[in-house]
Amino acid sequence: MFIRSLKKLIRNPILLFFSLFQPILFLALFTQLLSRLGSFPGILPDHVAYLEFAAAGILLQNAFGSALQSGNSIVADIDSGFLSKMLVTPMSRSAILLGRLSSDAFRVVIQTAIILGLAYALGAAENTPFYVTTGVVGILGIFFTLAFFGLAWSGISLALGMKTRSAETVFAIGGVITFPLLFLSPSLLPINFLPSWVQTVSMFNPVSYAVNASRAFMITGYDWGTILPAWGVIALVAVITLSATLYQFRKVVS
């Protein structure tokens, strides 16, 4: 199942391209828009270019995007009858779901690597060096955080997909959820730069935690005080969304 999803992804590079398109656009253009931010003292942490600051937010945005496609693919499998085709075989029910989720996570990791690589290249070109403070282990930490985050949100889109059986609905609801969560968090701008009500909201926004953790790996280093709570929050979200997925999956399966 995992292999099938990966093969499908490789066969449809256009899909990978489109889901990467938005994050790359943000990475290349949005960061340009706000690149002067770094020249005002006190907004960004010292010696940090906006590109480097925003990279974490863009990674999150990317994870959102691919998580939403997970719901689409299960809708496609239900519609085409492929899910039924799997269900009449003795393969274990959990393998169907786990294969899907693990390929989702893998995909987020690949895309994250591409974006990080691109950010590095852009940083070099702009003479605003981009690098991950914590090195290779830190990059693994970023992969883990985002894959974990992606899983948690795949849960939402999978549950929605199985409940509504409509790819359009998944996208519509997904879009409605994604952007407010991104904007009401320190994803693209520093927390102290945001209006105070947004600061308040962002404290209850799981995205804030995930973005801070990724940023810690990139900029501040092993700030476990930020990273561990973030993992805790993601785990909480994952438990909720994946339970919903499991519940819907049981309904679809029986």
Binding site: R4, K7, K8, N12, G81, F82, S84, K85, V88, P90
Partner: protein
């Protein structure tokens, strides 16, 4: 022969209250080619979904290969193959990859999968297209690939839900040939649903006509046709007025004749085996100087069976011509 499927008082009510399957009972023997014939929405697919463990029945009892549907679903899944109504091949994968994937679903060892895949590609004539993506296959090729995936693990029992719906006549004939081969050569029991009378007539050794969730009648195609009535022979005479009563007298005494009526041509004879009776009739009348102008005979078709038991035609454009006798013609 043992029963491979037993169904007793099966009922399925959907959550919206629709009674899709209404108290049906039937058995399928091992090695049999059994068919469910019925129009759209008759409950054919629903029955298949129940028997293939996709839908939970509301009440009744059903076993497949001796395993209980409720308690032993996983044992059933191991020994059955299923081809659903929708063609479900993964267009992003090649024909070969589709088959290999299916082999993994059944947890077959990799080298066995390789061997079996080559065998199946040959069987369904997709060897030359094996490395192409299934997306680019024609409808018939996809169906053949789908059929191959359903038998990757050499199932004892194969469920086919309208395997030829939407196919052109050549592709349909090809699928029929594979199915007959599977049933005869490999001894696979086949349970098939169809809305094509021709298909049921050609393939099924036994069939049940299902309508509005109920089994209207079941038996072999020939039995069913016999129940509808006897064969009929229409006889035209040169001088009908003069010879009719004499001719009727002669024919009535022949064995196998069940009824004689006046008809437009002159005489209408109902008989058990018209084909063999025709020669006798011609010879007898000829020897008495009664001149014949025409003789036509026809057998009842499954279409007649269907009309008798459900009160409607199955699908007019698909209705099948009765096999015509040596003098041709049709009622």
């Amino acid at each position: 022969m043992a029963d491979i499927i037993t169904v007793k008082d099966l009922v399925l009510v959907y959550s919206d209250g629709t009674k899709a399957v209404d108290n049906i009972s039937f058995n399928v023997q091992e090695g049999e080619f059994f068919g469910f014939l019925g129009p759209n929405g008759a409950g054919k697919s629903t029955t298949i979904k129940i028997l293939t463990t996709l839908l939970r029945k509301t009440s009744g009892k059903a076993t497949v290969a001796g395993f209980d549907l409720d308690n032993d679903a996983s044992s059933i899944r191991k020994i059955m193959g299923v081809q659903s109504q929708e063609t479900t091949v993964d267009g992003d994968l090649t024909g070969r990859e589709n088959l290999e994937l299916q082999g993994h679903f059944y947890q077959m060892p990799t080298n066995e999968i390789k061997k079996r895949v080559n065998e199946l590609l040959k069987l369904v004539g997709l060897e030359s297209a094996a490395e192409r993506r299934a997306r680019n296959y024609s409808g018939g090729m996809k169906k053949r690939l789908d059929l191959a995936t359903a038998i990757i693990h050499k199932p004892k029992l194969l469920f086919l839900d309208e395997p030829t719906t939407g196919l052109d006549p050549q592709s349909r004939a090809a699928i029929w040939a594979y199915l007959e081969q599977l049933n005869k050569m490999e001894g696979i029991t086949i349970f098939l649903t169809t809305q094509y009378l021709e298909e049921a007539n050609k393939l099924c050794k036994r069939l049940a006509i299902i309508d509005s969730g109920k089994i209207a009648v079941s038996g072999s195609p020939d039995e069913l046709k016999k129940q509808v009535g006897a064969d009929s022979i229409r006889i035209g005479l040169e001088n009908c007025e003069r010879d009719r009563s004499k001719a009727k007298e002669i024919i009535k005494s022949m064995t196998g004749v069940t009824d004689i009526k006046d008809a437009e041509e002159c005489i209408l004879v109902y008989a058990q085996n018209a084909a063999s009776l025709i020669a006798d009739i011609v010879r007898a009348l000829d020897s008495t100087d009664i001149r014949l102008t025409s003789v036509t005979f026809s057998q009842p078709s499954l279409d007649d069976v269907f009309i008798k038991y459900t009160g409607k035609r199955i699908r007019v454009e698909e209705s099948v011509k009765a096999p015509s006798g040596m003098f041709g013609g049709r009622r």
